[in-house]
Amino acid sequence: MRAELELSQQQAWHRVAAPGTWLTGAERVAIAAETRHALDCPHCAARKAALAPLSVPGTHASLGALDAADVEAIHRIHTDSGRLGQTWFNGVSTGGDARYIELVSVVVVTVAIDTYRSAAGLPPQPLPTPLPGSPSRHRPSGARPGPGWTATLRPEDVTADEPDLFREHPGPRERRGANIHLALSLVPHSMIHWWDCFEPMYMTGPQMRVFETEYRAISHAQLEMLAARVAALNQCEY
């Protein structure tokens, strides 16, 4: 494995086990475990096959460590994300928008690392041991509603109380130019957790825009083709 890729994935996996902003280390590891478990959930399989997933009666097969709302969110995000809508979001009660964002970040880090290792022929990483400590419960003072379903923190609203989530330093800003950069910004450490894991898998923003240089063993065109294929398979409108 490329050294940068290996290091970033090791770091991302260890960060799953650490206390977050809204979740304990134990809760975060339980979310990672439940994410994996979702692939074997008969209720998710039935919903996936249905034209109207919310019309399918039944309950999720869960590991039992999390409450039903968390399990619903985790399972849907992993198994049927392309059909998630605001009606569903409004009805899933996972303890507030910031806690939800942190849950999403743990799910997607788990999905990405598991997908990589499975595709590359590597065994799954063992679940990490949760680290002690309490969540900070810090909500950025500059967060405001939109552009998605939750509040976000725009670059212009970042205060000195926040980490360098948009990679402003030393400048120019690296994480910019797309709404997707805002998606997890309500929980800055969750945003950093994801993008530090994702960029070595793909490219950084500046690398993405330099077409005369190839940063990976496959070309920009091949990377974009694969990205588009995955987006289409996942029915991702974005």
Partner: protein, 94 residues
């Protein structure tokens, strides 16, 4: 879809690799991975697996947070989004 006609080199092995990877089915993944290794080598297989994995995560972020496409991108891509059926994804959301 094999990727023939896309104009992207080696789409014929890369796209089946993506399809297999998202299945999490090792029986599907192994031959698809072997085809990429045979044609493009290990470093390319690793980077292909990585980008597939990364976008298997980031698409979920977009869909789980309701983040909309930027207006300028939506305007610039309106024709081919309709032609490719991407706009139909919205109708399936609940």
């Amino acid at each position: 879809m094999t990727g023939q006609g896309s104009g992207v080199p080696h789409a014929d092995v890369l796209l089946p690799f993506a399809d297999a990877a998202l299945s999490f089915d090792s029986a599907r993944i192994a031959p698809a991975r072997a085809a990429v290794l045979a044609v493009l080598g290990e470093a390319a297989m690793i980077d292909a697996a990585a980008v597939i994995a990364g976008f298997n995560g980031i698409t979920r972020i977009a869909d789980a947070t309701g983040i909309p496409l930027e207006d300028t991108k939506a305007d610039d891509t309106a024709d081919w989004r309709e032609a490719l059926g991407i706009n139909a994804f919205q109708a399936a959301k609940t």
